[in-house]
Amino acid sequence: MADVHTRHVPPRMGSVSALQFTLWVVIGAIIIASITQVTPSPERLAEGAPRIARLLSRMLPPNTDPDFLGRMFWKLVETMQIAIAGTVLGVILSLPIAWLSARGITPVPVLAFFFKGLVSLFRTIPDLVWALIFVVSVGLGAVAGTMTILVDTIGFCGRFFAEAMEDADKAPQEALDATGASRLSILLGAVIPDALPSLINTTLFALEKAVRSSVVLGLVGAGGIGQELKTAFDLFQYRNASAIIIAIFIIVLAMEWLTDRLRRALN
């Protein structure tokens, strides 16, 4: 009996072909090369630690000069405006784009691929690259920032809105289709009401993401508090920098708390 069992136990591992073995070796080599070449060695960490400590000591205490705080406050307001305007306009534009690209829902199936591609393009190019493009095309300042958030929001919401629309309950859509309702009527009457919780969730995530993005866009000249941060570092005003970093921390945290509360209230 024991013999029979032994003979029928499957092998611990499936056989590996030469190609698979080569692939594993290549992947291993890439990981090892990456870790050894670009991660800090213990010596460099040891050298850097005192410098970080020195920088921290020059950052403290954060600047609380009223003039500076006033200027920072208005830059924070501008940052929020960039985030809000960019997200709202982005969400408004995402809805028709998502509709045109959603499988089984789009009124123009032949163009769905084009709109999906457009959304992918918007999403895959990082926001800082978009910011550079808009700074060059519309000039330095908040307008370039708003354009960046808008495009970034379409890249994010366009995809998730389309997925929510594709996942919407099919039964009411079929029921309305039978009455002779137009594609737009079905979208407004059945798809959007059903997908609404998901659309709101995605919008809140987009807003959260936009606040985080809008904070750094200033680094490349696209307006907002990031510009102040860059100036502070460029001019070695480390006490200003620490005040700005604390303000950013508070604003991002506050936004996450707020969107979290909203999400819970809506669910």
Binding site: P172, E174, A175, L176, G180, A181, L184, A190
Partner: protein, 253 residues
């Protein structure tokens, strides 16, 4: 009183096949008069759904002639005919097909889609006052006015199907087409829905064609029973003349 002499739907030598496959419907001739309630029964694959889709002009037919609510055609209705047919039909589905997050009232208002001014029927908020009023009257007809503001997902299965019936009724159709309207409900709600539905159709003089797997429903709520087997009419008789034993064989392979 509805005019019972008028023909609602008739077909002569209707045949249907998909592509080059075997015929799904073979040589079906029948006439359904205005105001009649018809139960269409048969086992899965007998051709019920296909016949239903042909009878509303949703599927082209491979042979024979069709007359649906005065629109006559062979093969396929024209675009205008198809629209005219749809405008006069109220559909009720097995899965009800209500928009869950909208109120019962809004769902009934959506019955106006596809009719004149139907673009406003997105919800009761956007609909005209006439549509809102008509929707309330339809809810009254299914005895659900007190649930008008309840969300569809808060209704019981039977209530939800009654809202779907109100949504079909608000179109003031000449013909109700119901695909297994009670199949998703428990037996008691199923009987309640069928009872109300068949009475409503009679009260408003609307022809009702429903499919069912339930013999009791077919015999209790229809004037006439049409049983399909292997794509052909197996029984076509007034339910008053039928006994359960006459139906033996309908569901046999």
């Amino acid at each position: 009183m509805p005019n019972r002499s008028a023909v609602a739907v008739s077909c002569t030598n209707l045949a249907k096949r998909y592509g080059n496959g075997a015929p799904v419907l073979k040589d079906i001739s029948l006439q359904i008069d205005t105001g009649e309630t018809i139960a269409l029964i048969g086992s899965n694959g007998a051709g019920k759904s296909t016949l239903l889709k042909c009878l509303i002009g949703l599927h082209d037919i491979s042979g024979g002639k069709l007359n649906i609510l005065g629109e006559q055609f062979e093969r396929a209705p024209t675009g205008a005919q198809r629209k005219a047919i749809r405008r006069q039909i109220g559909f009720v589905f097995q899965q009800h097909g209500l928009v869950k997050r909208l109120s019962a009232h809004s769902n009934v208002v959506q019955g106006f889609f596809g009719l004149a001014g139907g673009w406003r029927a997105v919800s009761q908020m956007t609909a005209s006052q006439d549509m809102r009023l008509a929707a309330m009257e339809a809810l009254e007809a299914v005895n659900l006015t007190e649930k008008a503001q309840s969300r569809a997902d808060q209704l019981s299965g039977g209530q939800s199907q009654r809202v779907a019936i109100a949504r079909a009724l608000v179109r003031q159709p000449k013909l109700f087409i119901a695909d297994e309207p009670a199949a998703s409900l428990d037996p008691s709600s199923g009987r309640d829905v069928m009872e109300r539905f068949s009475h409503l159709a009679k009260d408003f003089g609307i022809t009702l064609i429903f499919t069912s797997h339930d013999m009791e429903h077919a015999l209790s709520y229809a004037d006439r029973l049409i049983a399909l087997k292997d794509g052909a009419v197996f029984i076509d008789a007034a339910t008053a003349d039928l006994k359960s034993k006459d139906l033996a064989g309908v569901f046999d392979g």
